[in-house]
Symmetry: C2
Subunit: 241 residues, 2 copies
């Protein structure tokens, strides 16, 4: 596939960290939230994975986002990025560490990361984003598949109840502390919410948890950002939705 001409924002040369991302990709959003929670400055470079940009493929042959670059170290994929940040920033972060605890607790955080960023993403946001957003821009000429959109919305209901179930038993997604599992779940829900597809009325417990997560300063930049040509519903940015 040929890559089409595009302009990158000029990089801020003072920024130590560059994150290659896609605005409505839940894994990219998780990486941004994680960087913000650790108080790290970073520069964003938007990738359109379907363009298969040569320089980007040289960094990550899988051609997927997010990819983080720091001082020449390329970290490809959301799992590797979260582990890298835990290894390089976690030990100094004290109670703000995002992958905390003993091995058993860390295993539960990682199970939930797989749940939200692999299972839920493939069952929910990947359908919604591909049909409602990507097909508008990727020049494939394909029209949205309403069956896939309906499937994504039906699956979302099930995942919303699972979040409600977990939050009826815990203070945060994986236990007593905020972890990357909360950020991943919040990121995934925020994508569906941008597209107006979350039936918030169906689970009060899940909604209350999301209101807390959405109010965190780390969420501000995400909520303020708009994708050209696609406006989110007003409640998307409303902290009291």
């Amino acid at each position: 596939m040929a890559s089409s001409p595009r302009t990158l924002r000029p990089l801020n040369r003072d920024a130590m960290i560059v994150l290659h991302h896609s605005p409505l990709d839940a894994a990219s959003r998780t990486a941004r939230l994680c960087l913000a929670e650790y108080g790290l400055a970073f520069e964003l470079v938007e990738e359109k994975p379907w363009e298969r940009r040569t320089e980007f493929l040289a960094m990550n042959p899988a051609g997927t986002v997010p990819v983080m670059v720091e001082d020449g170290v390329v970290v490809s994929g959301i799992g590797p990025i979260l582990e890298y940040l835990d290894e390089t920033r976690g030990p100094g972060a004290g109670s703000r560490r995002l992958l905390p605890g003993a091995p058993a607790e860390r295993a539960e955080v990682r199970r939930l990361l797989d749940w939200f960023l692999v299972k839920m993403r493939s069952e929910v946001s990947s359908h919604l984003v591909r049909e409602k957003v990507t097909k508008r821009f990727d020049r494939s000429g394909e029209s949205p598949d309403t069956t896939a959109i309906r499937a994504g919305k039906a699956n979302l209901r099930y995942h919303l109840h699972y979040i409600g179930f977990l939050m009826s038993q815990r203070s945060f997604m994986a236990g007593d502390w905020l972890t990357v599992a909360d950020l991943a779940a919040g990121a995934e829900l925020s994508v569906a919410d941008y597209l107006g597809d979350v039936p918030w009325g169906e689970d009060e417990t899940a909604k209350t948890w999301y209101a807390r997560i959405k109010s965190r300063p780390s969420f501000r930049a995400l909520l303020a950002e708009q994708v050209a040509g696609i406006s989110p519903p007003q409640a998307y940015t409303d902290l009291d939705f």
Copy 2:
């Protein structure tokens, strides 16, 4: 989906570790290789994920294998299992540590884990196993989709060359040492090899690497095991294939 009656092998009560697995699942095979490389004794329990066994879903609501249980700690998913073993066994393993090095090197190992266990698995072994094996046993009544089998085989060629490319530059998959990336790539290839689908003649470098990995003692139990009703080609167990 109702779960059908089935018998588990009685557990060895002395075994500290139980691994719930599926014989031709590359992620399960990776977990077995990793446990064996660390010299850990473990008991296997075979799961048929399509049966959605109630006790298994209670452990891992995602219903996927592998799941490892040690002293009541449930670790679900291959990523979480590899990280758990690194955290609990890695520091004492010295040069036999399977996720070694500084954060940047560990990031490269994890990139390759995603490559082999997510990308390659979804493009190769999941097609081959679903069409050639699962459909025989899951009572869906569906017949094998030859287009999917052809796609899996075509993708395998591309992945074999990527392995050859990496091994033309490195001693092991992720650098100078054996890591979980070698075990994951070996596990994924071993599944396709069991089904007789690897075109070994197409990449000598990849073949030479696989011969080395396959000769490791950790591979023995895998190679000796047969799936009922499906015999591997003779070269599957041959160390000099």
